[in-house]
């Protein structure tokens, strides 16, 4: 899932300084699961904003709504009839959701309430770790299911480097060395030959905005609206 964390309160408050009627839009998918921008987080943030603005003697009328997914046109539709009542929108979705919301209502200012952080996994409640950089050319088949692009601090394709220290990365003794883990896992599977060959220079595909059209589909006529 996409993991996000809420922005510092002061930053959010600063965005909304000049607005008196704001709708905070939560997202019920990834950011809800990682406890950053779902229904509960929308109501907590709204309560904080309401209180802070009262103290500042500059009250705000802030409402909340959480839709299933902000990255999906189908779910944004329910907002069409509502947004006209507001001066600005706050979004607690990931960066993709925020942009899709802003794209749908280009005349209304949209502000982010979270920092989108990574694609990761849920290690325990409230504890998430990054696992994927969406590089568009997955090497997990050769690396024992451990991503060097994400988990090696230098993103090496032919590691480990000389900084491996008792199984941890040179940047931090609490950070495991990805290539040490790759070596250990492939050794356990009897597949070390997977990393004996040189991996050539990568063809970076994440340097321009990417589009995916799955087989059998085409770009819809209605794209963009």
């Amino acid at each position: 899932m996409i993991v996000a964390k809420r922005k510092p309160f002061e930053e959010i408050k600063h965005f909304l300084k000049g607005y008196k009627k704001v709708l905070n839009v939560g997202c019920g998918t990834c950011v809800a699961v990682c406890l950053a921008g779902g229904e509960k987080e929308v109501s907590v943030l709204n309560a904080e904003l309401d209180m802070a603005r009262k103290i500042d003697d500059n009250p705000i009328e802030i409402s909340g709504i959480t839709i299933e997914r902000q990255c999906d046109r189908e779910y944004l539709e329910v907002l069409d009839a509502k947004v006209g009542e507001y001066e600005a929108l706050l979004s607690m979705a990931c960066g993709a959701g925020i942009q899709f919301l802003a794209e749908r209502y280009p005349n209304i200012p949209v502000f982010p309430a979270v920092d989108t952080t990574f694609i990761g996994v849920n290690q325990a409640v409230g504890w998430y770790e990054e696992r994927c950089r969406s590089c568009s050319s997955c090497v997990l088949g050769q690396t024992g299911g451990i991503c060097p692009v994400t988990l090696c601090a230098k993103g090496l394709y032919n590691g480990p480097c000389g900084g491996t220290n008792k199984g941890s990365c040179e940047i931090d003794s609490n950070q495991p060395c990805a290539w040490y883990m790759i070596y250990e896992r492939l050794k356990g599977q009897g597949r070390l030959e997977c990393i004996l060959e040189i991996t050539p220079a990568n063809d970076w595909q994440n340097q321009t905005p990417r589009t995916v059209i799955q087989p059998g589909y085409s770009k819809p006529e209605t794209a963009g609206k």
């Binding site: 601090a153 230098k154 993103g155 090496l156 394709y157 032919n158 590691g159 480990p160 480097c161 000389g162 900084g163 491996t164 220290n165 008792k166 199984g167 040179e170 940047i171 060395c177 040490y180 070596y183 250990e184 070390l192 004996l196 040189i198 991996t199 050539p200 220079a201 990568n202 970076w204």
Partner: protein, 308 residues
Amino acid sequence: MKSGSNLEKILKAGHFAFTGELGPPRGTGVDEVKHKASFLKGMVDSVNITDNQTAVVRMSSWAASLIVLQEGLEPNYQMVCRDRNRLAMQSDILGAYTLGIRNMLCLSGDHQKFGDHPQAKGVFDIDSMQLIAMVKKMRDEGKFLGGTDIEHPPKIFIGAAANPFADPFEWRVHRLAKKVAAGVDFIQTQCIYNMEKFRNFIKLANDMGLTEKVYILAGVTPMKSVGMARYMKAKVPGMDVPDEIIKRLQGVEKTKVADEGIKIACEQIEEFKELKGVAGVHLMAIEWEHKVPEIAKRAKVLPRPVMD
């Protein structure tokens, strides 16, 4: 001859090579480079010019290499993957070669987190293995990584590093084999203190036939103090300092510790001269360039052979 560099000639002729190291200044002090170079002239076959080592900004490696070259020393131009993408690397290689640089050392580079700009975006467009292959392709095929032809390709003697002491030990010789397959001509190792582990590493490299394909220069850094030895043991990732080294330094009078460090280094060099698979020594006398003439003399590696 692949490059015709002095280092290549020395190694090809079967001489025991002796290389040094010089760190560029944190500013524009050309005299500082010249001063350090003056101690190394005639003492080493080639001198490594580090590239923003420990991720701290310094005078560019190619510029300091050119100053050293003007001073009559042969530079070994270090290049790390942290600070440049493949375009910048290839253009720097062309420029460096054009102005007389003939040796290169291809490195991943210390992570930017350690340096004076920890906020920087690390590039790592390609890794050290891919850098070796790229320089080889430029030299031997006369082509850029992207596949187009190079007019007057750069003829570089290609070096890389090896750390026999980092985990996992069993993998290190395979990583060396990969560097050989990528096209490396010579290797300079991490500073060696654990001789037993190094002997094992070299034996594995000999058994795999790697030392017939690549010249291995054993890395030596004399300990200046007990504190330095302790620091290297505890703080430098991938460094293996056995307790015997620390004990030996502790066992001499305080004023004689540095001398004992040099003595240990010279004993190591004597052993490397006889060790099958070792083609020379890379002396990293960090901020101790003025001691290099004494170390070279005591290690009996002088005079350096003069090649045509």
